[in-house]
């Protein structure tokens, strides 16, 4: 089975990113595929390469990055949610004349069209709410 995961909740104040990560690992272990993880709303913070996890806490950015790279997951950060929260990749930083950026591969920035595309092209779509 091929899944698209839709994640709403922030990595710091909800369990959505952790639960989605656990689901993705379990699904992959059983031979399923995660074709896309779409981070929207506060979940876009999981894409920031500038977060520093306190000792003893899981670095969810790093965990997703490793999983995405290992299993070729298309990890999309919703552009409208990201920009207003100060999450930009290099090209958006240039476009808006900002000094730095914090979204890097394997995460990519794109629009809600990728949510709909991922939703209808996968066998199943699962939302991890806030």
């Amino acid at each position: 089975m091929n899944y698209t995961l839709v994640i709403h909740g922030a990595p710091t104040t909800s369990q959505a990113c952790q639960t989605a990560l656990s689901f993705a690992r379990a699904a992959i272990k059983r031979g399923h595929t995660i074709s896309r993880a779409f981070f929207l709303r506060d979940a876009v913070h999981a894409g920031s390469s500038l977060t520093v996890a306190p000792q003893g806490e899981t670095d969810l950015h790093k965990e997703w990055k490793v999983l995405g790279q290992q299993h070729n997951i298309d990890m999309v950060i919703c552009i409208s949610a990201a920009l207003k929260r100060g999450l930009l990749n290099e090209s958006e930083a240039q476009r808006y004349n900002k000094e730095s950026h914090n979204i890097e591969a394997p995460f990519n920035i794109s629009g809600l069209g990728q949510l709909i595309d991922g939703t209808v092209s996968a066998d199943r779509t699962i939302t991890f709410g806030a």
Partner: protein, 118 residues
Amino acid sequence: MKKVCIISTHAPYGSPSVKDGIDTLLVAASYGMDASLLAMGEGVLQLLKHQTPDTLPQKNTGAMLQALEIYGIESVYVCHEDLEERGLTEDDLLLSPQLIQRNQIPQLLKEQDRILNF
């Protein structure tokens, strides 16, 4: 054409849930999906007439809903019991949505190819 239903369960303006749901609904329609909206629980409040959130730093989601028709979205469902529990009637709502009994919701969702929660 795949059937995509957006379930919206939050009140407008207290969180971005309603706006995010409508944005996704409009994108689904523009991608050629048979898109519908199901407002349940506090979500029924987003359909109230005469919304004037002018002083809030957010878009008027009631006005956004008026654009659904332009996008060809005709299927807007509201849970009848959730409406009644809030002392509201059909006359209080924008868009003349279809009222649906709570026990009919499973059938509506069964007919969908995909469901997204907001």
